[in-house]
C-alpha cells in the first residue's frame, strides 16, 4: 500500500514537472532554466506545508507518502537542476550557472521554511 501511494504520487508529479517546464519555457525562453526553478520551488513549498502540518498532527503518514515522497519528490528534481547548471557553465554562462544554484537553493529553502510555518497553523 505504501509503495502504491509513492508510485501514484510520482506518476502525477513527474508529468506535472514535464508539462510545467514546457509551459514556462514557452513563456520565458531557454536562456535560464526557469521551468526547473519553478517546479523545485513549488515542490519545496508544498512539501514544507505538508511536513509542517504533519508535525502538528494535521497530516497523516499516508498523505505524506502520496503527496510528499511521491508527488513532491517526483515534481522536483536534482538531476535536471545539476545538468542544466552544467550546460550553462559549459556554454560560458558561468554567472547564470552560479545564479541558478544560489537562487534555487535560496528560493527552495525559503519556500520550505515559510510553508512549514504556515502548515504548523493548520
Amino acid at each position: 500500500m505504501n509503495w502504491l501511494l509513492v508510485v501514484v504520487g510520482a506518476m502525477v508529479g513527474a508529468p506535472l514537472r514535464y508539462l510545467t517546464d514546457r509551459a514556462v519555457q514557452a513563456r520565458f525562453g531557454p536562456a535560464f532554466p526557469w521551468g526547473t526553478f519553478t517546479v523545485n520551488v513549488a515542490g519545496s513549498l508544498v512539501l514544507g506545508l505538508l511536513t509542517g502540518a504533519a508535525v502538528g498532527g494535521a497530516a497523516g503518514s499516508r498523505l505524506q507518502l502520496l503527496i510528499g515522497t511521491g508527488l513532491c519528490g517526483a515534481l522536483t528534481t536534482y538531476s535536471t537542476f545539476s545538468y542544466e547548471t552544467l550546460r550553462l557553465a559549459e556554454g560560458g554562462a558561468r554567472l547564470r550557472a552560479a545564479a541558478n544554484v544560489a537562487a534555487s537553493v535560496a528560493a527552495g529553502l525559503g519556500a520550505a521554511c515559510a510553508a512549514w510555518a504556515l502548515g504548523g497553523l493548520l
Partner: protein, 158 residues
C-alpha cells in the same frame, strides 16, 4: 535540452500523450527506487541525510553520462529520454526533500549539520554531473564519432 529536430517549447499537443505517459511511468519507477533506498538505509531524523544525498548524487552522475550518450553519440527512440532522463532520474532525485530536511535540521537545533548538508549537496551533485559527463565523453569517443554538441536549451524534461 531538446533533441535538435524538435522545435523548442511547442504547445502541448495530442501527440504528446506517449511522451507524458513515458514520463509518468519513469517517474513512478524512479520514485519507488528512491523510496526503497530510504527504507534500506534509513537515516535518523536528526542525523545527516546521507541516503537522500547519495540518491541525488547518483542521479546527477547518471544523467551526466546519459545526456552525453543521447545527445552527442546516439539517437535513441524518442521516448527513451522522456522515460529515463525526465521520468526515472527526475523521479529518483528530489529537491523538495533536500530543502525540507534542511528546515528540519535547523528546527531541531542542528544548524551545523543543516549548513553542511545545504552546501554538500549542490557541491557533490555538480561535481558528479560534471565528472560523469566528462568520463562519458572520454569513454564513448573513439567508439562512436561524436556529433557536435547541441546547444544548451535547458528543460526539466532532460
Amino acid at each position: 535540452m531538446t533533441a535538435p529536430h524538435r522545435p523548442e517549447a511547442r504547445p502541448v499537443r495530442a501527440g504528446q500523450a506517449p511522451v507524458v505517459a513515458a514520463v509518468a511511468a519513469g517517474g513512478g519507477l524512479g520514485a519507488a527506487a528512491r523510496y526503497a533506498a530510504t527504507l534500506w538505509w534509513p537515516t535518523g531524523p536528526d542525523g545527516f541525510p546521507w541516503t537522500v544525498l547519495l540518491v541525488n548524487v547518483v542521479g546527477c552522475a547518471v544523467i551526466g553520462a546519459f545526456m552525453v550518450a543521447v545527445t552527442e553519440v546516439w539517437s535513441p527512440h524518442r521516448l527513451v529520454r522522456p522515460f529515463f532522463g525526465t521520468g526515472v532520474l527526475g523521479g529518483f532525485t528530489t529537491f523538495s526533500t533536500y530543502a525540507v530536511d534542511i528546515r528540519h535540521l535547523l528546527g531541531t537545533g542542528h544548524p551545523g549539520t543543516a549548513l553542511a548538508y545545504l552546501a554538500a549537496t549542490p557541491l557533490a551533485a555538480l561535481t558528479a554531473v560534471w565528472l560523469a559527463a566528462a568520463a562519458a565523453r572520454r569513454a564513448l569517443r573513439g567508439r562512436h564519432r561524436l556529433a557536435p554538441a547541441t546547444g544548451s536549451k535547458g528543460g526539466a524534461r532532460a
